[in-house]
């Protein structure tokens, strides 16, 4: 719980500082930073309470539940693919970026064969395109293909 506590404490200090600069106003006329300032302070206090609670519980010797081992590589690969897809979405367009994204998930993450990868990624992209763009008239990035 060390990293979340550090993160929330830093966040609470930062939010409180920025909110203070935004202006707290008066009690009869609260300013723009009023809610976020007090939310930041509350977040900080609760974080300290969480740290105290955890330290106290650890001293009492709690039985820590054993969590299942996480496949970090899979998670990171999927996330990296998602951010890469966002990065290329507008320049290359939906069809190209979605095909590449799904293809990577099938080949790089799920280790499927090339045939499955190519067929499934094309099929998934065109089905999504048909449902959202053609049937539901949603706007999707056109990119290099122009549609």
């Amino acid at each position: 719980m060390k990293y979340p506590a550090i993160f929330f404490l830093l966040l609470s200090i930062y939010v409180s500082k920025v909110s203070f600069e935004l202006g707290l106003g008066t009690l009869s006329k609260p300013g723009s930073g009023f809610i976020s300032f007090w939310s930041g302070i509350t977040l900080g206090l609760l974080t300290i309470m969480m740290v105290i609670q955890n330290t106290w519980l650890r001293q009492k010797g709690p039985t820590k539940e054993k969590k299942e081992k996480t496949k970090w590589k899979t998670v990171i690969l999927a996330l990296a693919a998602l951010f890469a897809c966002i990065f290329i979405l507008e320049p290359l367009g939906f069809i190209v970026s979605s095909t590449l994204f799904v293809g990577f998930l099938f080949k790089g993450v799920e280790k499927k064969g090339w045939l499955v990868t190519i067929v499934a990624s094309l099929l998934m992209t065109f089905i999504s395109y048909y449902i959202f763009k053609v049937l539901l008239q949603a706007e999707l990035p056109r990119g290099i293909l122009g549609f």
């Binding site: 809610i35 974080t47 969480m50 998670v75 996330l79 966002i86 099938f106 499934a120 998934m124």
Partner: protein, 490 residues
């Protein structure tokens, strides 16, 4: 009757059907919940009229409660969090070759529970809305505070961690332009942030993307119990055994569904109640129909009762209601006491559509069970790329803005880390949605009282909400919290 004439129009029946169908599908598929599904459908729903959108999204929500039972009974994996208890007796019934009656009583129980609850909704929502017309900013502020504390009170794990999510949600809610002064807060020159953080990308990230990442990181082994599904219609004896559990399940679901945040624990309570009242409590968990009937009736009654505070007070009882509230607000409709007066067609049309939805669901559920079973066999490795692509499309098509997709992905990571470190997303989302309401009412109340916080304690209704909030906080800090899940089910 006007409500029925609206709900029975061809387009609204179609939206209801689509919502119920998608809801059942979402309920059947573990790994995608109704929150993520509603988030996915949100941009599409915004393109149709508010009535159709609400009918479809509501159908998806209560449809998921129906569908959730299928995986609980056949796979011992709850499709929805509210179907956890159904696993206990439902799966055991399937092992004994009684999957049919278990699925049948789930569908019939859900139908009865849902229908009775809608009658309650018709009776209570207008009364509550009329009472709420007397509410001023102080009352609404206190009610919002009570709603937030109740949601954190019933959250799993550490109360402090759940409580921390409330100020975090409020901070996120302040991002964008201050409507009172026009000042930009936490925007850093970004156009996306200047409009405020969108609810949909955040919910998609917190519930959709994070769920995919969790499933990829720690895959769930699905053991499909092979059984022939026969005799979907429960026998006369099954009905005799189930009639009182169905009625009591409806009552528990109705009462707890109205209270913010209590919905998730209602099937556990209904199940615990049946076990205590039963002449043979030792048989619970071995595959008896009473256990399935109580839990399934209760979760559907709860899902529909949750509409009461949302429609009449503008206060969501859970995350899904918060999203539906958001859907109304995007359409320029403010839910709350004035909804019934200003938009009676929408109010009564939606309620009437729920009657129709319950009929659609029973028709969908029983004959289509073999189809749902087939869908259950789709490997997750083929599902998750589709969920991710839908999330990208959903968040982009909202405003045709890549910034929303980035927000969704960032909150996907945030949601994943929150789940890893046992922080709950529900209080955060609720605070994010209710944040503007809370801030606006606080400012107005303080303006009226010339800066005195006494306004929240001197007005009787506001004071009572505040007292409940304080009691919840005190009880929680002294660890007097409901342990129904562990105690009643073990």
């Amino acid at each position: 009757m006007n409500g029925f004439s609206i709900a029975l129009s061809f387009t609204n029946v179609m939206y209801c059907f689509i919502g119920c169908l998608l809801g059942t599908l979402v309920g059947v598929l573990p790994g995608i919940g109704p929150a993520a599904a509603i988030a996915l459908l949100f941009p599409t729903a915004m393109r149709i009229n508010p009535m159709g959108a609400m009918v479809m999204l509501a159908g998806l929500y209560y449809g998921a409660q129906y569908g959730g039972s299928t995986t609980s009974i056949l796979l011992n994996i709850p499709g929805e969090a509210t179907s956890v208890v159904t696993c206990l007796d439902g799966y055991q019934m399937a092992r004994k070759g009684r999957a049919g009656p278990a699925l049948g009583i789930s569908a019939f129980g859900s139908f009865i529970g849902g229908t009775i609850t809608i009658m309650g909704l018709v009776l209570f929502a207008p009364v509550l809305a009329n009472a709420a017309l007397k509410f001023g900013p102080a009352e609404f502020f206190s009610l919002t505070v009570m709603c937030m504390t109740m949601v954190t009170y019933v959250s799993r794990g550490s109360f402090i961690k759940a409580l921390m999510m409330v100020p975090l949600g409020l901070i996120l809610a302040t991002v964008g332009m201050d409507p009172h002064t026009g000042t930009f807060r936490f925007t850093y020159g970004s156009l996306t942030l200047k409009d405020g953080l969108g609810i949909v990308p955040i919910v998609m990230g917190l519930f959709g993307i994070s769920e995919v990442l969790i499933n990829l990181g720690t895959p769930v082994q699905r053991i499909f119990f092979k059984t022939k599904i026969k005799e979907l219609f429960p026998s006369l004896q099954d009905w005799k055994d189930s009639k009182f559990p169905i009625l009591r399940g409806t009552l528990v679901g109705f009462v707890l569904g109205v209270l913010p945040g209590m919905g998730l624990s209602s099937p556990f309570l209904a199940y615990g109640l049946e076990r205590r009242l039963s002449r043979h409590p030792e048989k619970f968990g071995t595959g008896i129909i009473e256990g399935v009937a109580a839990a399934e009736t209760c979760n559907n009654a709860e899902a529909q009762a949750a509409f009461i505070p949302m429609l009449s007070l503008g206060i969501p009882a859970n995350v899904i209601m918060a999203m539906l509230l958001g859907a109304l607000m995007v359409n320029g409709i403010t839910p709350g006491p004035l909804l019934l007066r200003d938009h009676p067609d929408l109010f009564w049309g939606l309620i009437s559509s729920m009657y129709i939805g319950n009929i659609v669901l029973i028709v969908l559920n029983l004959p289509l069970i073999p189809l749902w079973v087939k869908i259950l066999r789709i490997p997750y490795s083929y599902l998750f790329p589709a969920i991710l692509v839908f999330c990208i499309i959903g968040s982009y098509s909202l405003n045709n803005n890549i910034g929303d997709v980035i927000v969704m992905a960032v909150f996907g990571v945030v949601g994943y880390l929150m789940k890893r470190y046992d922080f709950e997303a529900a209080p955060l989302v609720l605070a994010l949605i209710l944040g503007p309401l809370l801030e606006d009412n606080l400012r107005q109340a303080l303006l009226i009282s010339r800066g005195s916080f006494n306004i929240f304690l001197t007005r009787p209704i506001s004071a009572s909400f505040m007292i409940v909030s304080i009691l919840i906080l005190v009880f929680s800090l002294f660890r007097v919290r409901p342990k129904v899940k562990a105690a009643d089910v073990s």
